[in-house]
């Protein structure tokens, strides 16, 4: 998560309007779901990969790092899709049918491509920029504000948690399984109390700067470029064309 966030803040496309990136992703997702999976999903996947790695210059390792966990879930799900369990007749019968295999392949390819699109978005756009976009698209301000604060505080808590864990380790808190469980419990409890305390102080700090119920900040407003919007559409069209000309 920390690495993902760092790339989002430092990649080459960081200052490109999030709307342009979102349009590209929305187009790819629409193609991914509208066209036959086997034909379109690989094109969508590679389009997202190239945009991330070649376009925004995010290292490939970061891309695969984001993909790793969803890929594991997909792998775990494949048997359930491919195999069918038949309870009629002489007893439970587990069978592998060609239709089951095709279904499993289609579903996993489609999901993999969709996840790649989201990986592109999250690796090239900082979360607050995405939230600003969501607000402009009509998400309730209170919800956006909450997510904004949570995103900021997650990092504060994460820092505290890793410092506290190191302190516990230094006093051999993770020596055996038993002590690990105990230490982890203490860590969680401690973090909860500290977070409450921090919330109270954050409130004081905000009030000192005139907070009265609305977190307003002056965001950057990157230019929405017609040229880049057109390029995004063109890229999606190329993907669609590649999918359609395939036999």
């Amino acid at each position: 998560m920390l690495a993902t966030d760092r790339h989002a803040w430092t990649n080459r496309w960081r200052f490109i309007h999030p709307g342009e990136k979102a349009l590209f992703v929305a187009g790819l997702l629409a193609a991914d779901f509208a066209l036959p999976a086997l034909a379109v999903a690989p094109q969508v996947f590679w389009a997202a990969y190239l945009a991330t790695v070649t376009g925004a210059r995010v290292p490939g390792r970061a891309f695969w790092g984001v993909m790793a966990v969803p890929m594991l879930f997909l792998l775990a799900g494949i048997p359930a899709l491919a195999l069918s369990l038949n309870l009629d007749g002489a007893g439970p019968l587990l069978s592998l049918s060609p239709e089951g295999l095709a279904l499993a392949a289609a579903v996993s390819l489609r999901s993999l491509a969709a996840v790649a699109c989201l990986a592109f978005l999250i690796l090239t756009t900082p979360v607050p920029d995405l939230l600003a976009l969501a607000r402009r698209l009509g998400l309730p301000p209170a919800l956006v504000e909450l997510a904004y604060l949570m995103h900021r505080l997650v990092f504060v808590v994460l820092e505290r948690a890793s410092a506290a864990r190191q302190a516990q380790e230094a006093r051999l808190g993770y020596r055996t399984f038993g002590t690990s469980i105990r230490s982890l419990g203490l860590l969680g409890g401690g973090l909860f109390l500290r977070s409450l305390d921090r919330g109270r102080r954050l409130d004081l700090g905000l009030a000192a700067r005139g907070y009265h119920g609305e977190l307003r900040v002056l965001g950057r407003e990157p230019e929405l470029s017609v040229k880049r919007l057109a390029l995004a559409v063109l890229a999606v069209l190329v993907v669609v064309a590649l999918a359609l000309v395939q036999p």
């Binding site: 900021r152 820092e159 700090g205 005139g210 900040v217 002056l218 950057r220």
Partner: protein, 273 residues
């Protein structure tokens, strides 16, 4: 001295659980001064600061801002906080926004200023603390010293008359402290009143022009550093040690005084002998 910007008279504050934090504290803050509030842990420094910007309300006693008694209505508090800024000790308690520029824009926007004016103030505040180049950086990717300066910029952008700083130099390395103090000195030269708490008695002695010594929720004494910090009985009562320079002056047989006086006398002796 052109009168007091802030004055508290006999304020008391009790936290939940019957902990008496302030016990009849009285203190006057002259306009344009650099006032150091000294005292051991738990003497009531932070509680005092929270009273000075209206975050806490005293159980008893009076507070005056610019000669007028304060009130705690919504509009009055707004005005109060735009005149008296507070910089907390832990920058993570104050930075909430995603980027530096966004965080600094929070205060001016709350003052109801227009977009271009807010932008101007953000740029000015960042320049004042020497971090104009960090404007678009993410707040959680800054060093501790940078975060401290961003919180100061966030308060500066509201152009307050008084800035309250809770332990401004604690946890900073020499370079970080130097940069922060240089920014504060420029502000003070421009007429901003500075009130800061500190444990660093040598820093208070050398840098402040007034010091107030707190103990047990009261202000024992307030005045020029050279006289207040030379009072051995007072320092013992407050649990403070004597500034190192006064020890040196005594050992060298030089009469006590302010930092510059002692340094000048020591230099004189060196050239004389």
């Amino acid at each position: 001295m052109t009168g007091a910007i802030l004055a508290v008279d006999g304020i008391e504050h009790t936290y939940a659980g019957e902990v008496l934090a302030l016990d009849g504290l009285s203190l006057t803050v002259p306009r344009g001064c650099r006032l150091a509030v000294l005292g051991s842990n738990g003497c009531g420094k932070t509680t005092l600061f929270l009273h000075l910007n209206g975050s806490l309300r005293p159980g008893r006693g009076r507070i005056e801002l610019g000669g007028e008694p304060v009130s705690y209505g919504r509009a009055a508090l707004m005005g109060w906080r735009s005149r008296v800024g507070l910089v907390l000790q832990d920058p993570d308690d104050q930075l909430f926004a995603a980027t530096v520029a966004e965080d600094v824009s929070f205060g001016p926007l709350n003052l109801g200023l227009s977009g271009p004016e807010v932008r101007r103030r953000v740029a000015e505040a960042l320049a004042a603390v020497g971090i104009a180049d960090l404007a678009e950086r993410s707040t959680h990717m800054l060093s501790y010293g940078q975060k401290r300066r961003v919180t100061l910029a966030g308060v500066l952008a509201m152009r307050p008359e008084v800035i309250l700083l809770d332990e401004p130099t604690a946890g900073l390395d020499a370079r970080g402290a130097e940069l922060l103090l240089a920014a504060l000195e420029r502000l003070n030269a421009g007429g901003t009143t500075l009130v800061f708490s500190t444990h660093d008695i040598d820093f208070a002695y050398g840098w402040a022009d007034r010091v107030a010594v707190l103990a047990g929720g009261r202000c024992l004494r307030e005045g020029a550093p050279a006289t207040v910090l030379a009072d051995a009985g007072l320092l013992a009562e407050a649990g403070l040690r004597r500034p190192l320079l006064l020890d040196i002056a005594e050992a060298a047989g030089v009469p006590p005084g302010g930092r510059d006086e002692i340094l000048a006398r020591l230099a004189e002796r060196k050239t004389g002998s």
